[in-house]
């Protein structure tokens, strides 16, 4: 087998590498550098020259002593892990359901699940804000009051008696509904590419739907599961847009409802403390890399990348 020539490969990869360098690597390096400067109030010219580890010392101090930072970390862990489960398993369930149902029902079903992703973030968040609003006019309160389930309105996202579980549930629900469609699309397209003969043969052999799913369909989705899991994991670690609005509008407790990514955003853009925010985001990047690599290893990425043993 002739060895591929390096020149053409590098030539064709150059545009992609260039974009990655400009839009991913350079900002990342800059962010890491800023984390080592006392940058605040965007005063690049004044602070960018001084290098210090003060932000990391301060961050460590906050981690150890601030009663609210601990809440953010716990929320981040719960939010990422539970939403990941919803996104992957929910996406798989939806894809299987859509695959097994009549096409005339399947298409509108898939479309309906895509709506949260297609809705602008502010509009989608506003819907949930009013849904969980703590007075009679809140949608959920209004329904439950009419049904007689509750006798006075409940402030769902901020009531100390319900915290932190209510906030965690809202976070997982809101973000899960957005993220689940991604898995659904990927898994559904993968299912559609499975040769019909496999399914027909299984049916002819008398396989039930469960057996079909368990032994024919899911095994063929293995690498798609790896891909969706890792993709969603890394997305969830850094996601904050919907959460930001819900916390900003007071629908969620500002600490139990905040993730580390939101903490980074607020530190940079609300308190003007960009050096500290960059240090906090560097930790987030490091966490993302560790989690990503761990997931690749655990899910057997190496085997997926091996060349097939047989002739194709």
């Amino acid at each position: 087998m002739p060895r591929p020539r390096l020149g053409p490969a590098a030539f064709f990869l150059m545009p992609a590498l260039f974009l990655i360098a400009v839009f991913y690597i350079a900002p990342l390096m800059l962010s890491i550098y800023i984390g080592f400067t006392p940058l605040r109030d965007w005063n690049l010219h004044r602070y960018l020259g001084s290098v210090t580890t003060y932000n990391y010392e301060r961050l460590l101090h906050l981690l150890l002593h601030d009663p609210d930072v601990g809440k953010i970390i716990r929320t981040t862990i719960v939010f990422v892990s539970l939403t990941l489960l919803v996104n992957v398993l929910g996406g798989l369930a939806l894809a299987l359901a859509a695959f097994l149902m009549e096409e005339s029902i399947s298409l509108p079903t898939r479309l309906a699940w895509m709506l949260p992703r297609m809705t602008p973030i502010a509009v989608y968040s506003l819907i949930w804000y009013y849904f969980f609003l703590g007075d009679r006019t809140g949608t959920l309160n209004s329904i439950l009051l009419r049904l007689g389930v509750i006798d006075k309105p409940v402030d769902w996202g901020t009531n100390p008696a319900l915290l932190p579980y209510s906030d965690w549930a809202i976070l997982v629900l809101v973000n899960g509904l957005v993220g689940v469609s991604f898995g659904m699309v990927v898994f559904y397209s993968a299912l559609r590419s499975i040769p019909r003969e496999h399914i027909i043969a299984a049916r002819v052999d008398g396989a039930s739907t469960w057996q079909l799913v368990r032994h024919i369909l899911v095994p063929q989705l293995r690498w798609h599961l790896v891909y969706v899991t890792i993709w969603q994991l890394l997305s969830l670690v850094t996601t904050y847009a919907h959460i930001f609005l819900l916390v900003e509008w007071g629908a969620l407790d500002r600490w139990w409802g905040s993730t580390w990514a939101l903490y980074v955003f607020n530190t940079a853009f609300s308190t003007g403390d960009q050096g500290l925010a960059a240090a906090a985001s560097t930790l987030l990047v490091a966490l993302g890399v560790v989690l990503g690599l761990a997931a690749l290893r655990l899910l057997g990425f190496q085997r997926m990348m091996q060349e097939p043993r047989g002739e194709i």
Partner: protein
């Protein structure tokens, strides 16, 4: 293997190129002209050099660089002549402002100032004009401030900005603002016309970094119909001489607690007290001052956590929430769906609000009309009928009533005039020009117009006199005042909706509250401390913490942040012999 090494090598080369390019850009890129001696864009220099040559060849004696005299006509003419002699016949300035829809004068006033200065120049035959580009945004000024700071890095910031005084400390620290102290030494007579308490809002470390633009007070609004109901059911005439009693310190928060209880227990209103949501800054901070506390030590330039006053404030909130006089979830109520509708429909006896709410209730449809079932604004007459207003009452007997202002101020960027020709050479002249624009934007009639149409309080005594002048207000209502056509057109609709006797009388009365006003600290770290207060209030209202636990929470938050622990002094202890109500 070689393949992979090659790819890695290609990637490394690209990264290195990018890093070098970024480093070069950062070294060169848009350093603020005010902090550097490097000349601005070459193109501008070349253009003006060419433009200036005819003047030079004409052999006319160029006037020397002007200095300010304190007479605005003389000053603008001198500056105009000087720049014209340099071959510069037009200067452009940009102004940014933000606020409620009625606060458009926060940028229009500078455009009007340019119009007025141009008229002076024209009258004196000076071939020089000022052009103003304005950008007014609806909403709060905090976002505007962040945009200002970010834009400063690439010289894309405005030359003048109308924003809250609270940004002065941090921006002055960063060198973003022009120190106008030397200019104001020449304009001392102007300074004398501003209310003295407001001048503190434009000073940082003894230097002036702006001029007041507007201000406001934060009164207690009392529902007259709820008070009448209490009188009918219990015989207590709450409102009898209340404003005067509060002013004399005879009615304190102990009494307000009792009144609130009467209102709720007699079924006259659902709540006793409602207040604004979200950040505790600045409304609720009034409690600290009302309980005789302080927030700042100017001698040490340190913020102060006054433990006894903060404890009493949190206790009042906690007690009222426990007794269902104040909603537990007040800090997360929705403005349009909960707060304002509850206030305008009489669901509370007391509302801790701001002067601007007086006209906001007249323009926003918060009120559900029981006759039509439709939402509509209250009429001016209805607002007058239903709302009685007083100062924010003293905390304990012996304390004094207060109010709190968060003035908007004109700030001039330290690189003001940067977009004009030969900036590095003439920047001090452009700075003076920007200063004169701001001085003119504070003309008494412009301040008065802004105050009336937006229900903000005037910052100058001369403007307050105009507001009290019925004939002038009538002229304003018909727009028969001396304004540029552009400004007249822009404010015509707002003037029609807001200029009336009731609103003018309200402004005049509310202006008297400025004698009692306090400002929150002019310290770069104050917003951080105020943010912690907001969390603490939320926790005591919801019953998550007792007042004592909340004070300890505030202390732990301060100590957890090395920055704050350096700048906040914790004084006093939780009072053990104090009781409320």
């Amino acid at each position: 293997m070689a393949q992979r090494t090659g790819l890695i090598a290609a990637a490394v080369v690209i990264i290195v190129i990018i890093a070098i390019a970024a480093a070069i850009t950062l070294q060169r890129g848009g350093k603020p002209a005010a902090t550097t001696t490097a000349p601005p864009a070459t193109a501008a220099t070349t253009t003006t050099a060419a433009a200036s040559s005819p003047a030079a060849t004409a052999g006319q004696a160029k006037p020397s660089k002007p200095t300010l005299t304190g007479n605005i006509e003389e000053d603008i003419v001198a500056i105009g002549r000087y720049l014209a002699a340099q071959g510069i016949h037009k200067a452009t300035f940009t102004v940014w402002g933000a606020g409620d829809p009625n606060s458009v004068m926060r940028t229009l006033a500078v455009a009007e100032a340019a119009y007025r200065l141009n008229k002076i120049l024209e009258k004196n035959g000076v071939d020089f004009r000022i052009e103003v580009k304005q950008n007014f945004r609806r909403g709060g000024g905090d976002k505007l401030a962040e945009d200002f700071a970010a834009a400063f890095q690439s010289n894309a910031n405005p030359d003048i900005m109308a924003n809250s005084y609270k940004h002065i400390a941090r921006f002055a620290e960063q060198g973003y603002l022009l120190d106008i102290t030397p200019y104001l030494e020449k304009y001392k007579s102007l300074l004398g016309d501003f209310y003295p308490s407001l001048l503190a809002a434009v000073q940082y470390k003894g230097r002036y970094y702006g001029l007041p633009q507007d201000t406001e007070a934060r009164p207690l609004y009392w529902r007259t119909d709820v008070a009448a109901c209490i009188k009918e059911k219990t015989g207590n005439d709450i409102l009898a001489g209340l404003a005067e009693k509060i002013e004399r310190g005879e009615v304190t928060w102990h009494d307000i607690y009792r009144y609130a209880k009467l209102a709720v227990e007699s079924g006259c209103s659902k709540w006793g007290v409602l207040h604004r949501k979200g950040s505790a800054h600045p409304d609720l901070i009034q409690f600290i001052y009302a309980f005789g506390g302080r927030l700042y030590d100017p001698e040490k330039n340190m913020l102060v956590l006054d433990v006894p006053a903060v404890y009493k404030w949190l206790y009042v909130e906690w007690r009222m929430a426990r007794d269902h006089l104040l909603p537990e979830d007040m800090m997360s109520w929705d403005w349009a769906k909960q707060i304002h509708p509850a206030v305008v429909s009489g669901q509370t006896l007391v509302w801790i609000g701001g002067t601007w709410h007086w006209t906001e209730w007249q323009t926003k449809p918060y009120y559900l009309d029981p006759k039509t079932g439709e939402k509509r604004p209250l009429t001016t007459e209805e607002v007058k009928k239903y709302f009685y207003y007083t100062l924010f009452a003293a905390g304990d007997p012996g304390d004094k009533p207060v109010t709190l202002s968060q003035p908007f101020v004109w700030m001039i960027a330290s690189n003001a005039g940067k977009d004009n020709p030969r900036y590095s050479e003439l920047k001090d002249v452009y700075h003076m020009l920007a200063f004169l624009l701001v001085v003119k934007a504070d003309d008494p009639d412009l301040v008065a117009i802004h105050s009336i149409i937006s229900a903000h309080l005037p910052v100058r005594k001369a403007a307050a006199e105009l507001i009290a002048d019925k004939a002038w207000v009538e002229k304003l209502a018909k727009l028969q005042v001396d304004l540029s056509p552009e400004v007249k057109n822009s404010i015509a609709d707002i003037v029609k909706a807001t200029v009336n006797d009731i609103n003018v009388a309200f402004l005049a009365n509310a202006s008297n509250m400025l004698k009692y006003t306090h400002l929150t600290p002019m310290h770069p770290d104050y917003p951080r401390l105020a943010d912690i207060f907001a969390s603490a209030v939320d926790k005591v209202l919801r019953g998550e913490m007792t007042p004592e636990e909340a004070v300890n929470y505030i202390i732990s938050k301060i100590k957890a942040d090395p920055e704050l622990s350096k700048t906040v002094e914790i004084v006093g202890e939780i009072p053990r012999d104090w009781s409320f109500p």
